[in-house]
Amino acid sequence: MPTVIPIDEFVAVEWYPGFRSAYENAPYIVEPVRTFSSGDQARFWFLDYHWSRGLTPLGTIWNEDGYAWGTQWAAETLPLPPGRGIVQRVAGTHTYAAPIEVTSPGEIAERAARMARRLPDLLHDFPAIWAEREAEIETGWQRLRALDLSALDLPGLGQALRSARRFHRRAFEIHFELMYPLLVNYLGFRGACVDMGLDPAALGVFLQGVDTRISRTDRRLWDLTGQARRAGLGPVFAATEAPELVATLDGLGGPAAAWMSRFRDMLAEHGWRSEGTSDVALPSWVEDPTPPLGMIKTFLTQPHGHDGDAARAALIAERDAAIEDARARLTPSRRAVFDAGLASVQAANFTWWQEEHNAVIDLRAALPLRWVALEIADRIGADARDDTLFLFWPELLELTERGRSHDGELRSLVRARRDYFEHWRARRIDMPKVLGTVPDRVQDPILIEIFGLDRNFLTAVGRASQTPGAQAPDDAAGRRLVGLAASGGRVRGIARVLTDADHLHRVQPGEVLVCESTSPNWTPAFGTVAACVCDGGGILSHAAIVGREYGIPTVTAVGVATVMIKDGDEIEVDGTAGVVTVLRRA
């Protein structure tokens, strides 16, 4: 019997004040993004964890152009045999997603035949294809960054806005164009490893230790930490809250000024990224350097630095040993299959790309859109620069075309939408993790491996939704949580439950990070936390990959960790068994 979690509550919800259905006119490939309607109850929807704050009206461009268009375009182009991409429904400011499945066996066979024609060359030429796509994105990025927005009139800003949106959409076409083949290849090889009697968990080890842009940024932050310590700035960092650090350090002069100059060099190179995936509401580090300064503040509380080069050398040694060990277990013929498959998954390295692409795509694709929107706000004399982020795309375009000033009507509309956003942000913690008809299992390997929608997750969220009382603190089920063993090791610590990255710098060394999921901007925290526990995320999710890279016990796909574990609880994380136990309540 499938569990059904009613969607009525969200069908009835009015969307953003002043929203008109005429705004739902974005082009789509297979299925468009919509609000919930009653027919959606028959399908399975999961709460997406990338935007735990919620999306502003302009931010919903992500759903239309990235999440829906990008996945559907890529799944149709490859094509992916069993799925036509992912479609979304909005509940308040939050996003639920569902796979679009292909059910006809004949159609699946046709798609499989078409994929068979394209996949080998896509994989074989992956390094060249990625280099080409990366260059394409870089060219567009440089062009948009070089725009002098202050020199444009309002119609010119409208053109820039359209151009920024095309850049964003194209970046996510590329994102999913490459993600699907890489994942398919990885999973094919994993299946072969299992058939050959190898431990599938070792596959992550085979692919580890390759440098990414993200890890290079981390090393720069650790370098700056050492320089701050040597310059005697430790006490300043300790005594100053992260948001005040820029003003304080700039005001000190001397060694602090010299250090800030080096910090700004780092920003110029690594600071063109926001604190989350593709969200116009999030500034880049260049606009607001609080996040990297907060991380350095946290790093300074660690007595020892993090030797990134040594850590990487150790990962490489472990990788090479694991590969030799696996090869030694195989007969010569199987070794030939293994070697060929390994060469293929290493050349098209999914675990590497899964980190690397974030610096190229996810963390910056929405920034040009954001900058144009902020400039428009300045031009029309808005009360706050981010007022324009609370307008829907057609509304914002109309502003650039009609040159409307910031009148009372617009002011009250933005105020009402800000209230709406905050209302739903507060509700986030109580949002059901899944909605509609929960299946016993999900077929789509992408949802399993990336989003962690495995059988345990579905059971956990299904049970929690049926018996809200299970959240009583000392219920046995509430003390022992089972998830996916993403990174091995066992450790105890105080839980720090975070709803989003805003308070990441408050996590103290030795504490256990508990959250819905992590994204690349959380990576440096893995240098200080003792362990990590996530509601979502499969074996290929960010937390799982980074947990292994940093050697931090990590359990993902717990389903209800942020609900069952309270901030300050003492917990034990067993990343080898995939079990989290609450030892003592705060």
Binding site: P82, A109, A112, R114, A116, H124, D195, S333, A340
Partner: protein
Amino acid sequence: MPDPAPAPEPVREPVREPVPDGEFAAADHVVGLDSPTACDLPRVGAKLARLAELAQLSGTPGIWVPAGFAITVDAFARQASRLGLAELSPARARNRLLTEPVERDVAAAIGAAYEDLCEQRLDLGLPVAVRSSAVGEDGAVVSFAGAFDTFLGRSGIDRVLDAVRGCWASLYGPRVTARGRAPAPNAMAVGVMELVAARASGVAFSVHPVTGAPDRVVIEANFGCGEAVVQGLVTPDHVEVARDGRVIGYQVNRKDVISVFDYTAGEVSSRPMPSRLSTRPVLDEEEVAAVAAAVRSVAAHHGHPVDVEWAISRHRRPGEAIAVLQARPVTALGARPRPSDVPDADASGSPSGDPPIPPEAAELPAWDPVAFAARYVFGIAPDA
């Protein structure tokens, strides 16, 4: 970029025993595709044998197989023994094949055959397509589509000979070694065929549904030569045709790249499609019907589902034949290999000194991302 893993050493299969000079007659090196002996699979490889079989169909309405000849595995064996390939690593073997001239007798035989072809078409320096045809390719369990090289639009004997050496060398190329090993790479034949001056071209296949007989034809089409479609450089128009000839769907895609024959360079090159053409449909109704009929005829002749590469000549008028350039069985996804198809099954005499292969080796086919994805990711069961 990730550290590229070193390409695995392919297992070197024994090249035929060296044969003393003078033992071959020209007829052993080259055979016309319209000759019944060209269907001899061990001598010309699966791809050319099937083309030769197709050539026997030339009388069939609606199909035109361009004229051509096969350079047999004997010619390759002769070149291989002269260069001492059996003693060389794959990289060195490849290098030697690319840099050393074609052996005198073989080159003479190819030259004579090319001249005959030019004479037959009354065209000096006739542009031709030069295609690899490895023995064991295509007919094997897994699809090695694209693993071996094809050279389109080579004109003049020197360029033809260069292309032949390129085809031979692709037997030792990274595209093959990266996928494990060639299905049975003990020999390579090469086909030389008149290049069709294509207005449009593409691929077409009679689908083999899980349940049984094919019930529709799928056509993918682009303007110009087929290279851009085959290489996946372009999203071609996608057409589905029902059994009764009804067009179920014609999806016009944006075709950004076109492959054209460059007469000055003497080769086919890809270039951007003019924007006014990129969103125009490639085929009209009559052409769709003609391509569908052609692929059905080929499938009927072979008795199993096929995919074909086809082309429509610039000079074709409605009602005239469709050029069929290549045909192969549709690779069944997840199909389980018969033990006899598995390269491992016969490892005796392997020069690399590997110990004998244990019998359980037959359980796993050689690495192939498509077959493995079907089996392990999409759960498309073997033998389904």
